[in-house]
């Protein structure tokens, strides 16, 4: 079959080879070939010239598996809004702040990001009032043994908006703590992640 003929003959988008999402595969143990340690600091392009109202924070934690063993070969990524709760405009300034980071877990199973604390985030592009989400960071974990990456969210303990956050509210109360980062010191937020077993993180189907 020649490419393109199927879709041009049928205006309706029938599922075809070309219109089904590709399968995920594990990142494996050697993904560090695309590890760039500076990516763990989302503020690296800004030095001290941070956006107005920005608070530089660290977000760190350890990652453990179902046996309680440290996971020392994982890639952790973060994605979050800026201090005003905005995400970058795809047609906007590519040098504006972006809350994207990547970090390898070390020999202690630990990841650590330097970033800016995100503001409350709208649910959709024009949300107001109750459609606001509490400040949060999307986390993605890739590793050997993970055939698809695992996703979750980190929230900040003590945020007033947490009580009304639509995602937190959907999490059974007994497990909500697995999403709530605590401050070890002011501005130093920690959240340990557990792939499986006791205290398993609430992983999300995104």
């Amino acid at each position: 079959m020649t490419e393109g003929t199927a879709s041009s003959a049928t205006p309706e988008l029938a599922p075809s080879e070309a219109t089904i999402a590709s399968a995920h595969q594990t990142a494996g143990p050697y993904w560090h070939l695309v590890d760039f340690p500076e990516w763990a600091d989302t503020t690296r392009h800004f030095a001290d010239a941070l956006p107005d109202g920005a608070e530089r924070i660290t977000v760190s934690g350890t990652l453990r598996d179902g046996n309680g063993d440290l996971v020392t070969d994982a890639m952790v990524e973060i994605w979050h809004a800026d201090p005003a709760g905005r995400y970058p405009d795809q047609n906007g300034d590519p040098t504006a702040f972006q809350g994207y980071g990547r970090c390898a877990t070390d020999k202690g199973g630990r990841f650590r990001f330097v970033t800016l604390k995100p503001g409350p985030v709208p649910v959709g592009p024009h949300s107001q009032g109750n459609a606001m989400q509490a400040p949060h960071i999307a986390l993605a974990v890739f590793a050997r043994g993970l055939l698809q990456h695992l996703s979750t969210r980190l929230y900040f303990e003590g945020e007033a908006l947490n009580a009304a956050d639509p995602v937190l509210k959907a999490v059974p109360e007994a497990r909500r703590g697995t999403l709530l980062a605590k401050p070890a010191r002011p501005g130093e937020w920690t959240l340990d992640l557990r792939l499986q077993g006791e205290g398993e993180t609430v992983w999300m189907a995104v």
Partner: protein, 240 residues
């Protein structure tokens, strides 16, 4: 009036590998046992970082190192393909990262202790961006097969790892590209975690004479499809 969020289509289970795949031993202690929480898509999921070559420089030729005089050993190949979404739309200006073993089947990685030679002229990392039509292209060498300890006499088929970003973080994915006719494919627990045969075979690149350059390198085509948008926008939940 309610607002709408254009979420992404949920994956078809048969087309994706299950997190718990006993034949792939490393999944045993690493797959969640609790059911995943279905996350409604918000701006967090539908927006994405912007990557530009200015901030993330391209490495489109893996066969030479910057300032390097030598060339990587092995069979030079060109890999090209299109990045689209499930609606057939090109994913433009997307960052495509690749990494792979060298021709001897050894990664330039301290954790890889396979007794095969390292190649001082091969790092095994590439980064390219898709064009207006979603096309990407890079030059590399064909990676070798390598042993692993999943089971007795286990060998990974030749493959190149891919990391992809779309226009929403919900489209983020890491996958692997395989080579046609590889006798190790039917034996590989990772490849075979995808139960749908057609979905599995979409991870296998195709030899392509149009991508092949005379007197230079064979060409392989590898297209990748990211999730598309929900046909019906999701209503936002207003509690007022």
């Amino acid at each position: 009036m309610s607002e709408v969020v254009h979420g992404y289509r949920r994956p078809n289970e048969a087309h994706q590998p299950p997190l718990n795949s006993p034949a792939y031993g490393s999944t045993r202690a690493r797959h969640p046992q609790q059911p995943l929480l279905e996350l409604p898509h918000t701006l967090t999921e539908t927006s994405s970082p912007i990557f530009t070559p200015a901030r993330y420089p391209e490495v489109a030729d893996l066969t030479v190192l910057e300032n390097g005089a030598g060339h990587a050993m092995g069979e030079r190949i060109i890999v090209a393909g299109r990045l689209t979404d499930e609606d057939g739309r090109p994913v433009r200006h997307a960052m495509v990262e690749v990494w792979q073993a060298n021709a001897a089947g050894r990664y330039n990685h301290e954790g890889d202790q396979h007794d095969a030679p390292l190649d001082p002229n091969f790092r095994g990392m590439g980064r390219v961006f898709t064009d207006e039509d979603g096309w990407y292209r890079y030059l590399t060498i064909r990676p070798g097969a390598y042993p692993w300890r999943n089971h007795h006499n286990a060998w990974r088929p030749n493959h190149i790892h891919y990391s992809l970003f779309g226009q929403g973080f919900a489209q983020r994915m890491i996958t692997q590209m395989y080579f046609p006719g590889d006798p190790l494919l039917p034996l590989d627990p990772i490849f075979n975690t995808v139960s749908d045969e057609a979905a599995r075979n979409r991870l296998v690149s195709r030899f392509d004479l149009d991508i092949t350059r005379p007197e230079h390198a064979l060409g392989y085509r590898f297209d990748i499809v990211l999730r598309g948008r929900e046909a019906t926008p999701m209503e936002e939940n207003h509690h007022d």
